[in-house]
Every structure is written in structure tokens, then in C-alpha cells.
Amino acid sequence: MPGSLVARPKRFYLWTVLLLLTLSGVSIFVGVGTLVFSGLFTNPEALSLLLISRLPRTLAIILTGASLAVSGVIMQLLVRNRFVEPSTTGTSEAAMLGLLAVTLLAPQWSIFSKMLVASGASLLGIFGFLMLIRRLPPEQPLIIPLVGLIYAGILGAAATFVAYQTDLIQYLWIWITGEFSGVLAGRYELLWLAGALALLAYVAADQFTVAGLGREASLSLGLNYTQVLTLGVVTVALVASLVIVTVGMLPFIGLVVPNIVSRLMGDNLRESLPVVAGLGAGFVLVSDIIGRLVRYPYEIPASTVFGIVGAAIFLWMLLGRRSHA
């Protein structure tokens, strides 16, 4: 709501849309099977390649990148720390533990039910993290992500141990490595739910922005702080689980993208959330395209590509941060 008198975000919106259109175009036309634009109308095989593989893949990437970036920024505002996202707070690892459990105990369950179990587990994971950091000094912003990383490491080790003991290491590997080569029509549609959650977050953007001012300022403005916190945490847990179940983990997207956008546009989500979502999608698109081209005709997972870039940016952010971090 505030600031609607000034048209300053328009420029960012325009660039984001241009970037997304270009990258989507590249993503659709790059691949092992040749696809040329003119062929779409004359060649029925080209059309089915587009509809069954390339378009779903591109859509899956956009939905994944956008919803991960959005859940990252939500988490950062609610925890009031720039360095948290699902993969640095044990959220993703808890989801994997949940997935392992349901794979072992109820392998016949549908993918949707498995996703719900994973979400429940990752909710517990976030809850545990929030409990852990409650007593940490807020003036030491680096302690929170450090504690989060250790916590995530412990949960991850537990998952590895269980998977090793039960011969499910391969599954774990698939969940840890986010990539899009297996995406086909009919296999990625759960991600639309993640997209819907990102949209829901946009509806509640003002609430999240106010919550980012802290509990006391929120209460003073009459915000139902607990409700907003719950909405945020549930959104983050669901998005993390949906993404892990369909394409696997993509760490750092939720960390890098919101930090870049915050530098450029600030934290008023009503303005910045579309750019956060767009840039999140853009980064994953680029990673996926690079992954497809580097060892053509073989593929490198998008999460590996972004993991290298993302880890570097994350380190640079940690070390090069200024007083406001």
C-alpha cells in the first residue's frame, strides 16, 4: 500500500519481465531434440516435444525459482535476519527426513500424501529452529545462520544415516540434487501449488512487511502477529516440500535473490515481491540452461550449477556485509 504515489518500481518490473521472456525462450528452444520456431506449425513432433517436455520443464523451473525466492524473503522478514532460507535452517533436511519416513513406512501412498508428510516434518523443523534461535542475541546477525547451518547439518546427517541403513541413499540423492531433466507433462504439476502459495504471499505482502518491523511494531499497528507468523511458516514449509518432492532441493536461491532485490528496492514486499519471484525464476533458468549446455548432450543439475555460484555469493555476502546486515 504505501508509496503507491511514486512509480519507482516500474523500471524493475520491466527488466524482470524482459529477462524472464528471453530466458524462457532460450530454455524452450535449447535441448537435445532440435526445436525451431517455424517447425512448430508444420511438424507435429516438434509441437508434442514442446508440449510434453520443453514447456513443462520451463514452467517447472519458473515455478520453482519464484516460489523458493518468495519463501526465502518471507523467512528473512519473519526471522529478521538476512541469512536464513529453508536450506540454512534445517527446513529442507526435516522435509527429507519426513519423506524418508513415509517412503519406509507407507511406500504405497500417493505423491501428494508424501508431500504432506514432508511438509509436516519441515514445519516441525522450522519450529525447532525458531525455538533454538529464540535466546540468541539479535545484535549478532551471523550467529543465527551459523546455528541454522549446524542444525541443518545434524538433521541432514540423521537423514543420511537412516537412508544408508535402509538402502535409500539413492532416493536421498535425488531429493538433494535439484534438477529438471526428468520433468515431463504430468510429473511436475504439484509445483503449481507452490506457485499458488507465492501468489498468496503476494496477497499478504503488507502483513509480511509489517511483521518484518518486529513483533512490537506489528502489535502496535494491530497486526495479528501470530497469524502472520503461522501463515509465513506454513508457506515456507509447503514450498520447500513441494519443490523437494518434484524436482529436489535447490539451495541458496531463497538467500541470494532476496538479498539482491533488497539492496535494489528495499523490503516493501508489495513492491519487491514480483521482482523477487521473477529474479528467482531467472536465476534457476540460467542455471538450468548452463547445465544443459556445458557438457552437451549430457546435463549437469541446475542445483549444482547454482550451488557453485550461490555459495560464492553467500560467502561474499557474509564477509562483505555492512553494519545493517
Binding site: P138, L213, E216, S220, G266
Partner: protein, 252 residues
């Protein structure tokens, strides 16, 4: 009117406030003073419901505070805490605009924009309005948070040490503005101050806390004496009337 009845509060078994009975009448500026750790912030947080009530009662205009829904309370009472966070990067203008949130719930109209613009002018923030909160000084940030509470346009305004980071020009301007609001707009203002000179010069009433207990409360004229204030701070505080007819307090 805010009525506080037999209010006690403990944190981790340690008593922070004990048996406070206090009435804050509508209108005017009430200064809340007392040594560090006296419980001033805790009292303010209990009134604004940032802390939940353990024992005793607080009523606003005869209605128990606990029974007022949060969104209703935000139309009647605005608070600025002692520590304002800096984690988020909001523009000052947007921050002030969020003061209208309880009224608009995200749909501001022309009148709201007008209030925001006028508030920015009043608090000398027009030149800073497009700056981010983490790119201004502590004093400027504090003014922005007070401006947000001002834009909230509530009957009651509770401010916890708002002069902390302000230079004397802005401190004086803020006190003058609060006084004007009390007189002209019939607002009720409760302000925690640590500078006695400001308290005596600008407040209508003074409430003194020490060690979690109510030590004194009354009109400035009656309670602002050397004996009473010296006892409150357990420090010799002297008063002198200057040639221009002002009272000055010495405690250094």
C-alpha cells in the same frame, strides 16, 4: 483515561513491577521518569499489550484492555518502543505510511496520503522520505518511528525514550509538537524521559517509578521539587530559577 489497578509483573521469578495503582487522565503530556531499570518500559509494554498481563488490571476508558481486539486497540493507542529495529529496509515514507495501516488495512485513499505527507513535513522528514531506514542516522530513524505512530492518529500515544538519539533541536521540536498535539488535538501522551529538564519544562504531569514501585505521581507544579526528585533518583538534584523565569535542574 487509563486506569491501572494493583499491577504486578515478574520476569523469571524476579519482581519487575509491584502493586502499581495509577490513573492517567485523558489529555495532556505525562512524563514517566525514574532511574534505569525502574520498570518504565515494562509498564509501557503492559499498557500497550506487548507483554501480557500477569496480575492486576488495566482499563482504557472503563473497558478492560485485555478485552479489546488488537485491530481496535491500534485505532486508540500507538506505541513507539525504546529499541526500534533496523532489520528491514523500508523507505521512510513507506514506514510512515504504515502508520495508516490500522485505518486502511492496505487500501489508502487520498486522505491517508495527505496525512502521510503532512506527517513527513511535521517531523522534518521530507528530504529523507525516499531513504531506507538502514541508511539514516539513529536519531532520524527514531523520528521516523515516532512519525509513524503520529500518522496512526490515535487518542493515546505512548513513547519510550523517544529523545534518546535526538539532538537538542529535534528533541525540543518533538516535545513542542507533542505539547501542541495535547492542547490542540486533545491527544493523551505518555512519554518516558530521562532528562528531567525536558520533563519539567514540557509535561503536565509526572509519574516517577523506582525499583518497580510507584514513587510519585501528580501535576508538575506539585511534584517537581528538589526533595521529591532527589529521593526518586537517590541523587542530589538542585533547582534554580533563572533571570528569565525558567527553572533549571542540576544533577551533574
Amino acid at each position: 483515561m487509563i486506569e491501572i489497578e494493583n499491577l504486578s509483573h515478574q520476569i523469571g521469578g524476579k519482581p519487575i513491577l509491584s502493586g502499581i495503582d495509577l490513573t492517567l487522565p485523558t489529555g495532556g503530556v505525562t512524563a514517566l521518569i525514574g532511574p534505569n531499570g525502574a520498570g518504565k518500559s515494562t509498564l509501557l509494554k503492559l499498557i500497550s499489550r506487548h507483554l501480557s498481563l500477569q496480575s492486576g488490571a488495566v482499563a482504557l476508558d472503563g473497558v478492560s484492555l485485555a478485552s479489546i481486539p488488537a485491530d481496535q486497540l491500534a485505532l486508540k493507542l500507538a506505541t513507539v518502543s525504546q529499541e526500534v529495529g533496523v532489520a528491514s529496509r523500508l523507505r521512510i515514507k513507506d514506514l510512515v505510511a504504515f502508520g495508516r495501516w490500522p485505518h486502511t488495512k492496505g487500501r489508502p485513499d487520498k486522505a491517508d496520503h495527505y496525512v502521510v505527507d503532512r506527517t513527513l513535513q511535521k517531523f522534518g522528514l521530507v528530504d529523507l522520505q525516499n531513504r531506507f531506514l538502514d541508511e539514516v542516522s539513529g536519531g532520524q530513524r527514531q523520528r521516523a518511528f515516532v512519525a509513524m505512530a503520529y500518522a496512526q492518529d490515535t487518542d493515546w500515544l505512548l513513547l519510550d525514550e523517544p529523545l534518546n538519539n535526538l539532538d537538542l533541536v529535534h528533541a525540543r521540536a518533538l516535545m513542542a509538537e507533542l505539547k501542541r498535539m495535547a492542547l490542540e488535538d486533545e491527544k493523551s501522551i505518555v512519554i518516558v524521559l530521562h532528562d528531567l529538564n525536558y520533563a519539567v519544562a514540557w509535561a503536565d504531569r509526572i509519574v516517577g517509578l523506582r525499583g518497580g514501585q510507584l514513587e510519585m505521581s501528580g501535576k508538575v507544579k506539585t511534584v517537581a521539587t528538589s526533595e521529591i526528585l532527589s529521593a526518586l533518583y537517590e541523587t542530589k538534584i538542585e533547582v534554580e530559577d533563572t533571570a528569565s523565569g525558567r527553572r533549571v535542574w542540576y544533577y551533574s
